[in-house]
Each structure stands twice: as structure tokens, then as C-alpha cells.
């Protein structure tokens, strides 16, 4: 029977005694996490933890490992570098570019005192689409702040719009509070 694993052919004389003394095995219960510590001596616990941390062979009594000399320089080797998780990048698209430009034009009009730049019908259509779009994202777990920062709109702006939206669908504020506590959204 051919053997692709050549390491098996290593001279056996080089191996330490196959059988470890039982206490040494006790010292390396690599897979064990007893529900209770009863029956374990302090030394058992110390050996157990040490073996867990360092993968010490059970046949080598862990306590026999040569003490590490503090002053001896240790070799430091970088084994792997793992990059930070990258946030999902939302690529720009033509519709978003168009929306950004349109919003900028509206802001400009408003800054110049023109708050009748859109007809009521146009405002309703825009508000309806944005409302649906934002809610669908939130329900799908794709949450992001509804406005860019704290000062994008005033508190009064927010309250007026929230109130108007609730009124439009015949909801009271207490119903909003109840729904929020039950849905977690």
C-alpha cells in the first residue's frame, strides 16, 4: 500500500516514549471543559489552563517545561496580517447622481427664499417615493441616518413632517410609540 505521507517513515527512535504518565495526560484536556471543577487540584487546574493555552503535549508533563528566561530575547515573527473588514461601498449610479443634483437645486431655491419651487403635487409625489424607499430599506435591515447630520434639518422641521405623515395615514402619536416598542424598528 503506497503512502503519500512520507513523515510516517521518520525514524521511530527519535520519538519520545509513546506512553505518557496518566497525570501528564490529565494536564492537557485540550477538548475538555468539565462542568464542575470538583476533583481538580490547584495544580491540575494550572496544568489544564497552561496546556489549553500552549498546546503542550500530554506526554510532557507541562510543569517540566523549562522556565522562560525573562531576559532572553524572544524571536518575534509576524505570521499573518488580516485586514480590517471593509464597509460596503455604495457605488454611485445615475439616478442617485440625478437626485443629488435635484436636491442641491431645491436647497439653493430654498436658501433664496423660494419655498414654492415645487407644486404641492410634486412635493407629494417626491415625499411618497422617499417615504417608501426609506422604509423598505429600514425593514430590510439597511439602516442609515435619514438625514446627513444633526443640523441638516431643525427639530421643528422634523416635528412638522412627522406630524403630517402621521396625520396623512390617520395615526396618533401613541400608536407610533406602541408600534416602535413592538417592532424594534
Amino acid at each position: 500500500m503506497s503512502s503519500p505521507r512520507t513523515k510516517k517513515a521518520a525514524p521511530k527512535a527519535a520519538k519520545p516514549s509513546t506512553k505518557a504518565a496518566k497525570p501528564a495526560i490529565k494536564a492537557s484536556r485540550a477538548a475538555s471543559k468539565p462542568a464542575s471543577d470538583e476533583g481538580m487540584t490547584g495544580r491540575d487546574k494550572a496544568n489544564f489552563i497552561k496546556a489549553m493555552m500552549e498546546g503542550i503535549a500530554p506526554k510532557d508533563a507541562s510543569g517540566k517545561r523549562p522556565p522562560i528566561k525573562v531576559e532572553a530575547p524572544k524571536k518575534v515573527e509576524i505570521l499573518r496580517k488580516i485586514s480590517a473588514p471593509t464597509p460596503v461601498e455604495r457605488k454611485s449610479n445615475p439616478l442617485s447622481d440625478e437626485a443629488l443634483k435635484f436636491a442641491a437645486r431645491l436647497e439653493e431655491k430654498f436658501a433664496n427664499g423660494d419655498f414654492e419651487a415645487l407644486t404641492p403635487e410634486a412635493t407629494q409625489a417626491l415625499m411618497t417615493a422617499i417615504c417608501k424607499l426609506y422604509s423598505a430599506n429600514a425593514e430590510a435591515g439597511n439602516k442609515f441616518p435619514v438625514v446627513k447630520d444633526r443640523f441638516s434639518v431643525t427639530g421643528t422641521d422634523a416635528m412638522i413632517l412627522c406630524g403630517a405623515l402621521l396625520k396623512a395615514v390617520d395615526l396618533q402619536v401613541f400608536e407610533l410609540g406602541m408600534w416602535q416598542s413592538w417592532s424594534g424598528i
Binding site: P4, K8, K15, P16, K22, A31, S32, G55, P58, P85
Partner: protein, 415 residues
């Protein structure tokens, strides 16, 4: 490559390399001197669905073959074999699942499954692995008996003709039986039973149909016994089974399911006196953990004393028959060491327990899980890791030190 973590956050990861992933296992192998110990893994897996392109042409019936091959065409036209619900990889936390396809193998080397097998066996210090399929563990749920027969036939031909011959003898198999059709089981035992690398036959226990005690199967068991092969029962989960439909977490359906299906069939096996009918047939129960064994022993011994008229074939307690059979160790529930020790005592683990990794599945066990148990004798340790399997499956030691250890603990046999 990217893996998706929480809230759509992506985490960059390297491609999978089994040897790198298992570097710490290789350290354990070196530190613990596993090269000197014959280690037999009686339950490891490959993903046979990745080789369906090679397997399906072995189907015999032209119409079913065309259906199966066509279903794999682009466009997601259907599933060839039953597939279960579930999240084995815990949302990518067990990274070898989503990264599996990224692992590179030598296109000019042996079959990819063999190359991957060699990597994990070398890392763990395993000498031989019994290779089982993954998706086909659910074959018992296929509504078409004919398709179950065809798929088992095709897989059994492919694995014995294409995959195993390239493994240098390190991979062996217990072939999947189409248990819904006893006549076909017999035909496949007769056809494949003598092939190199075939050490037994396996019944998937996730199946709602006939019980193992049905008269139709007696000829199958006899044929396996006559050939000196092993009959094994491999468990699995079935979240969609009505028994588990109230489970709202994969954990629950998985933890119970794997034990449940072996509990069910093992109970039928024992109570119906199969141990008396086929005393020379080695029977092996796979991948149900160990904690179910004392439970079943206690339960059926108890009722056996109360209702002896229902099991007249038994000449000793059901638990005695259970101790006559074999069990794979994984996934070993190492939580309460006292309970585990009692389990080992009750099942006579020194003579009945066989190491299994279940690699690459998510809850695999390393040989160190057995090696490091504080209550085992040296003989038990060697028997469980490979000594008992050496005798059961007729697997020779791979070096002189292993041979000497087999001799030392009374396991060595010439084949």
C-alpha cells in the same frame, strides 16, 4: 474573497488552504506523537455534489439519467437529491464552508477529494479515513425509490472506480445502500462488496420508510455478514421532519436529529433480536454522539424487564446487545466529564468505540479529544483511535511503531 458579516459588513479573507487552517492540528500531531499510533477515522466526508458531473453518467436508467443531468443545467432547474434546511456554517463563522471552492488543488494530481483528504489526514495524524458523501445522507428522503436506487448505484460505481483508486489506500468506504429497495440493496452488495476499498455498507438513518427489522432486509444483512463486511448506520438531521418542525433554531434540530434517527433504528435493531440473528455481523452506529447511548440502554433495559413477551428473541438485556455493537465517537459531548466517563463504562468503550473526525463538517473532532481524556487507560486510548478499527476493517499499520503499539495492546492481526 469577501465574507458577509453583520449588517452587510464584508470581511476580507484569504482563500482556503486546509493545511494552513489545520496547522494547529498538525502541531498536536507532532507534540503527541500520533505518527506512532494507528489512527483510523471511521467517518469523514466529501461533497459528492461537486462531482455530480462525473457521478451521474453512471446512472443506469436512461430516462432518470437524463432527468438528473438536465436538472443540473444552468438556470437552477431543480435538485437531483433531497436537500435539507439549515445553516451548518453559522452564517460564515465556520469559514471552510463558504471558502471551500476557493481551495486550490493540483489539476494533474489525484482526484481533488483525495488531495483534500490527504491534507486533513496528514494534519490530524490520521492514517485512514472512511469517506462518506454529504448531501446523499438525505437520500432516504427521496420520494422516488427508483431515483434513490440510481443515485446510490452511480455514486457507488464512481467512488470505487474513480475516487478511491487514487487515494493510495488511505481512503476507504462503506457504500451507501438504497434502503428503500431491499432487492436493490442486495444487488449492490453483491456487485460492489468485493471491490478494493469497500469495507462495508452504510444505511442513512434519516428515512421515514421501513424499519430495519423488516423481513425484506434479512437477505441483505446475511450477504454483508457472509462477506465479512461491516454494516453501518449513519445519522443526520432533518429539520423538515414533522418531529422537528417546532424547532425554531438549527441548533435544536441538529442536536436532537442526529441522535434521534440512530436512537430510533438502534432500538428497532436491538428489540427485534438482530444481534441474535446475525451474531457475526459487525454493526456500527455513526455520528450521533455518545450521550444517547446510556439513555437508550436505560430505557429499553427497563421496559425489557417489564415486557419480555415483546422481545422473545433476546437472550440477554438489550444493553448487552448494544455493547456487542460499535459506535463512532463524534461529536463527543465533552461537557460533564463524570457523565462522559460513565458513558464510556456503560458502552464498554474500550472495545466498542471508534474514533471519527467527521471532517470537514462544522463539529469535527480531532484525535486529541480521545487522547487527552483523563480517565482512559492507554489500551483504551489506542483501541479507540485505531486498534479496534484495525481489526474491524482489516487496515494494516503504516509503520513499525504503529505495528508495535498494535501488538502491545493486543490488537495486531496479519491480513
Amino acid at each position: 474573497m469577501d465574507l458577509i458579516a453583520d449588517r452587510g459588513r464584508r470581511v476580507q479573507v484569504d482563500e482556503l488552504n486546509t493545511s494552513k487552517l489545520l496547522a494547529h492540528a498538525a502541531k498536536q500531531t507532532r507534540d503527541k506523537g500520533f505518527d506512532d499510533v494507528l489512527i483510523v477515522d471511521v467517518d469523514a466526508h466529501h461533497y459528492e455534489n461537486e462531482s455530480f458531473g462525473e457521478i451521474l453518467p453512471f446512472m443506469e436508467n436512461e430516462v432518470l439519467k437524463q432527468l438528473a443531468i438536465a436538472s443540473r443545467a444552468k438556470g437552477g432547474r431543480g435538485n437531483v437529491a433531497p436537500s435539507g434546511f439549515g445553516y451548518q456554517d453559522m452564517g460564515g463563522r465556520v469559514t471552510r464552508y463558504p471558502l471551500r471552492s476557493s481551495e486550490k488543488t493540483d489539476a494533474n494530481g489525484p482526484h481533488r477529494d483525495v488531495q483534500l483528504g490527504n491534507r486533513w489526514m496528514d494534519a490530524m495524524g490520521v492514517d485512514y479515513s472512511c469517506l462518506f458523501p454529504t448531501g446523499m445522507l438525505s437520500i432516504g428522503l427521496h420520494p422516488q425509490k427508483e431515483m434513490e436506487v440510481e443515485l446510490c448505484w452511480a455514486y457507488n460505481r464512481w467512488v470505487t472506480e474513480k475516487a478511491l483508486p487514487e487515494s493510495g489506500g488511505r481512503l476507504f468506504t462503506m457504500l451507501c445502500l438504497p434502503f428503500s429497495d431491499a432487492d436493490e440493496c442486495l444487488r449492490q452488495v453483491e456487485t460492489f462488496g468485493h471491490r478494493p476499498g469497500v469495507r462495508g455498507f452504510m444505511v442513512t438513518t434519516v428515512r421515514p420508510k421501513m424499519g430495519v427489522q423488516d423481513n425484506a432486509y434479512m437477505k441483505v444483512y446475511r450477504a454483508i455478514e457472509e462477506r465479512g463486511l461491516v454494516l453501518s448506520f449513519h445519522s443526520g438531521p432533518s429539520w423538515g421532519d414533522h418531529t422537528f418542525q417546532s424547532c425554531n433554531r438549527f441548533l435544536s434540530a441538529h442536536a436532537l436529529g442526529f441522535s434521534w434517527y440512530n436512537i430510533l433504528h438502534c432500538t428497532n435493531w436491538v428489540v427485534n433480536g438482530m444481534g441474535e440473528r446475525f451474531p457475526k455481523l459487525p454493526v456500527l452506529w455513526i455520528e450521533a454522539g455518545l450521550s444517547w447511548i446510556p439513555f437508550v440502554m436505560q430505557r429499553i433495559d427497563h421496559e425489557y424487564m417489564l415486557r419480555p413477551s415483546e422481545c422473545p428473541l433476546l437472550k440477554k438485556k438489550p444493553s448487552d446487545y448494544m455493547r456487542d455493537m460499535f459506535y463512532s465517537v463524534q461529536p463527543m459531548e465533552i461537557q460533564d466529564m463524570g457523565a462522559l466517563e460513565t458513558t464510556f463504562r456503560m458502552m464498554d468503550a474500550e472495545n466498542s468505540l471508534l474514533y471519527a473526525s467527521d471532517y470537514p463538517h462544522w463539529d469535527f473532532d480531532l484525535p486529541s479529544t480521545i487522547w487527552d481524556l483523563p480517565f482512559l487507560t492507554d489500551k483504551a486510548r489506542h483501541n479507540i483511535l485505531g486498534g479496534t478499527a484495525h481489526r474491524l476493517f482489516k487496515l494494516p499499520p503504516r509503520n513499525e511503531a504503529q505495528k508495535q503499539n498494535l501488538i502491545k495492546y493486543g490488537n495486531y492481526q496479519e491480513f
